[in-house]
Symmetry: C2
Subunit: 631 residues, 2 copies
């Protein structure tokens, strides 16, 4: 039997094979924290056409069942079927595009003048076996050898000691000890390895975004990225932004629910990648987490409530190094888990990662770094000073909260251009597949193009009858980007979507201008502007300027550098020196609370217009508008 | 309705009250790890007479049900009932006799020249509250204050940080930090306290014997013992001695079963004592565990297999300080759990406790310390040297493995004397109640008296028709110590019981003489012999000599000092200095493996006789035998 996806792929199932496993066999992964046993209810797909048998539907709502939604892991085709995979069910693995612009980590380390030297160190030990004449216990024997090597004091956790004796004996008393020395110089034993046992060294870098979770699995011996994966943060069902999540966390078991949700997401990704590359769980010996302050707190089960209450103070900015078993991660249970340090309640470890990745803290010139995710965080500074601020952008540039939005993964429309005459759009889709949705960079292109071509006005409202693609939808007027010919939903941009995008871009623009104003600088003083975010491998800066998201300066001063949260996490994973540098950076950064600055609201309101109420600030856009008007 | 116990107590039940709760209300505790919910099946009692309704018997075997055994927590009297409580169901609390001879711990500390200074230290902190101008996170704020006090580096566990923020805010930023500095000088934060939260400080000392588990709850402010409790080690159902337990631990889930069993015992005791004294769980902030090497390994879930395999090396002798959550103890989850250090596979932390308690390591003269439990461990030495060895005595001196044996708690026959003419026994019962069984000291008295009065011969066989109390029982001839008039079982000593006792006393005697021989000393060189063990508050040294358990020297050189495992644990609980002294002692002790010494077997076989095959070694006994023969 054939399973045809609305995206165009086609897979043949084996006899008695469910759709979840058939897709997995072909490298198409669905989220399933239960591993495909019909329990977690996450591997939802929609059967658009064809006959099938579903042996369980317990985890589905009546509405879902009525709409033809089934659990892929409990569904068997009876004929060829046409399947639509909802965006929340997709777990993307191996899709190296669309995430980080810096893939050669070893080379990147060399620009810092550091070598690969991960957090976990490994020292070979040979110790004399016990005998009737030498009756020291295993741990005492180990401790005395470490003393000779000047490695005491070292902390031996219960988990370390529980697994220690077997390796000592299996390895015939010749093994490696893996240990860490925390940033505050406490040595902790992690685990023992030997040629026979758990010999390879891998690490995991995790970017926990409010909307998207990204995992990189890295070979710690050579710095190579083994594989990458991304997934929507399952906390989304409890709210789109950090404030809603914080409120949810204070109700009943909310904190634990949110915590479990994101841990499951991370574990899902780790496990799929691990199995795909035949890596043992024990071989993943370290983890770096990079996320905003709220995400970092929830990941560790720490109450985030004080983040949203004046004076907006988190429990922790600099997280101690804890272990994978504390974090419930599906790696070596003793693996140290380092959390990129936060600066304040609304500037988190992801931004410190961004500074490490962009290197603005080493720059002679004043630079601006901006990470555009669900929150928009800005850093301005150079090697002498760094100031930072945050504005709430909302999830739309990660494809969240939009009718046809999706992450920048295979199937996402990443760029759009319009024919000036016919006003027909041309779509570029990641992976050249059928379009499944539209990601952040596509959204910016679409808005910019619709604006310059008069499909929408300066307030973002559709000019009716301008093109036949404008139609009445469920939520008022909408523009059809892509007509689905296979029975799925058309991909559209609605007026509420546009409102959403304009609010987001206004928050970002207002953040930049307010912070510049606070430090008494004009945008002209900025030599370089680094833009980070989950837009994909593509961001058309000029179009971002056109919609008034970014200041109107020459494009050459901009550089789009992808997902720097994950890049910074990878660098800290590979280099303990850079990990310590991250600690220093977080201490050096001065946080400015934009919401307490009167000017910020004025800037925001002025920016709720395409490109801006003060068109003089956007000379090149003004020129383009005049040009287009002339044509 | 009345519940009458075969021990003489009488309790009136309230309407709809089960027997478990009625007994508990009156301070009679049954073991019940499920808290009396009919699940664990431990609160077994036997209804000897009367009507009752039992609402559950699921956890009982058919044989038990046939014999009238019920679960106390699911049984309601319908008339007055007569109840027999099996010894394994009794959880003894508040019975300060019969455990340690040293009750005034503060005074005892003063003989060491140390004050109360527990492992957990408390330092008052006042930190400036967060404000819009001071945006440091809670942990950063705390860390900086600790830096000023020179208390960094300090390790902050995930558990500590998880609970930290609430206390800071509740206490209005004026609180105490509780922390430890481990023996190898790593500082670790434990928890925060404030006037409002978890202000008092208690500690728990635990003696994990192969047969008996003892818990002392100690007030760490004044050194007073709040309460004590004891219970049979539930591992007993998987074997009487450490070797059987080790073998069990290597089969399937055996290790986890044994571990859970003893943890439940300890938690049972802690919880009953805690509730009785209205002490909050969080107020128990430290724990010291004292047990033999196997018990210590199993308690921590460490594979004990290598202990019984040549060259008999344990995984750990010196245990790191771990936490109550690692140990799954029902105390403050962050409480440090210190394990008294072991010396070798068969000389454990309980013996290091014994040295601390007996102070032989400070003595100018050569002393001998012996702990008679299921294992018999011996230490010989003084302030300059210490040697130690172990022999397997078996559980009989703790009342284990004997037809009518029981722990030295209320209801136990602790001493026996015989009328020379009528040969009738006079029994002294702990708590002056009806006798329930016979404990170690009573066993020694009984054997000695039966021997000197010709009821048994030198091989321990009954002289038939010597008294009407000798009768045929299920296992051959037996002697009736106590006729039960209330329908329960008579208390007897059988010939297999006597064989058992003789083997035990022979092992002890052979251990002492072999070790003396190894260090080239005669018993006369020993100035003082300290005897420890769970005999109760009474041990008749002369009678122990009579049966040939102890060398025949003048009684004034002996001192019986009770359960020193728990005393040493209490001392380490109260004084970090003594805790460190325990570490030193364990390093100083030289272990000698008796089983590899040819002489040991000869000594053992010669001692399988009352008092010994070589009667010249027991001059005073010879005298008494002649004297008795003359009478």
């Amino acid at each position: 039997m054939k399973v045809k996806l609305t995206t165009g792929e086609e897979i043949t199932t084996k006899s008695n094979e469910d759709i979840y496993r058939a897709l997995k066999r072909e490298g198409i992964y669905l989220t399933a924290s239960c591993g495909g046993r019909g329990i977690c209810g996450k591997c939802k797909i929609k059967i658009v056409d064809g006959n099938y048998k579903a042996t369980s539907s317990g985890a589905l709502t009546k509405q879902e069942r009525d709409e033809g939604v089934v659990l892929a892991c409990k569904t068997y085709p009876k004929s060829d079927v046409m399947v639509e995979i909802p965006r929340l069910s997709i777990l993307t693995v191996g899709d190296k595009i669309a995430i980080s612009k810096m893939q050669d980590l070893k080379e990147y380390l060399s620009t810092y003048g550091v070598e690969i030297k991960p957090m976990v160190r490994r020292v070979a030990l040979e110790i004399s076996p016990p005998s009737l004449d030498d009756k020291r216990g295993d741990l005492d024997r180990l401790t005395e050898r470490l003393k000779e090597l000047n490695l005491l004091p070292m902390r031996f956790s219960h988990g370390f000691v529980s697994s220690m004796a077997d390796v000592m004996r299996l390895s015939n008393w010749s093994f490696d000890i893996n240990y860490i020395s925390t940033p505050d110089n406490i040595r902790e034993a992690i685990y023992l390895t030997s040629k026979e046992f758990c010999d390879r060294e891998f690490g995991v870098a995790v970017d926990i975004g409010t909307t998207t979770v990204v995992v990189y699995l890295v070979n710690l011996s050579n710095g190579k990225i083994v594989d990458t994966g991304s997934i929507y943060n399952s906390q989304i069902k409890h709210g789109d932004d950090v404030i809603t999540r914080i409120i949810y966390s204070t109700e009943g078991d909310g904190l634990e629910e949110l915590r479990s949700a994101v841990i499951e997401d991370v574990n899902n990704l780790i496990t799929v990648i691990r199995e795909r590359h035949k890596i043992k769980r024990c071989e993943i010996n370290s983890v770096v987490i990079s996320g905003n302050t709220t995400m970092s707190h929830i990941f560790w089960g720490l109450n985030p409530e004080s983040i949203r209450l004046e004076p907006y103070i988190p429990t922790v900015n600099k997280f101690p190094v804890w272990r994978a078993n504390n974090a419930r991660l599906a790696t070596n249970s003793q693996a140290p888990v380092y959390t990129m340090p936060c600066v304040a309640s609304y500037v988190g470890g992801d931004i410190v990662s961004g500074v490490i990745a962009s290197k603005i803290h080493k720059s002679e010139d004043v630079c601006l770094f901006m990470d555009i995710g669900t929150n928009g965080e800005i850093v301005i500074g150079n090697k002498d000073w760094l100031v930072t601020a945050a504005c709430s952008a909302g999830p739309c540039f990660e494809g969240g909260g939009l009718t046809s939005g999706m992450r920048a993964v295979k199937g996402a429309i990443e760029s759009v251009s319009f024919d000036k005459d016919t006003l027909e759009p041309t779509l570029n889709v990641i992976g050249d597949s059928e379009p499944l949705g539209i990601c952040g960079s596509g959204i910016i292109d679409a808005l910019s193009g619709m604006f310059l071509n008069g499909i929408i006005d300066q307030k973002g409202k559709f000019i009716k009858d301008k093109t036949s693609r404008i139609r009445n939808g469920e939520n008022g007027l909408e523009y059809v980007l892509h007509y689905d010919k296979k029975g799925g939903k058309d991909l559209v941009i609605t007026e509420p979507d546009i409102d959403n995008i304009i609010r987001s871009k206004a928050a970002i623009y207002a953040g930049i201008t307010t912070l510049l104003n606070e430090v008494g600088l004009n945008i002209d003083a900025i030599k370089k502007v680094y833009i980070a975010g989950g837009f994909g491998n593509y961001l058309n800066i000029q179009k971002a300027i056109t919609i008034g998201m970014l200041p109107d300066i020459e494009a050459s001063r901009y550089e789009f550098i992808g997902n720097t949260s994950i890049t910074g996490a990878c660098l800290a994973l590979l280099s303990f020196d850079l990990l310590k540098e991250a600690e220093e950076i977080s201490s050096r950064m001065t946080y400015i609370e934009l919401s307490t600055i009167r000017n910020f609201m004025d800037e925001y309101v002025s920016a709720l217009f395409l490109p801006h109420t003060d068109i003089k600030r956007f000379k090149t856009v003004q020129g383009a508008m005049l040009h287009d008007a002339k044509c």
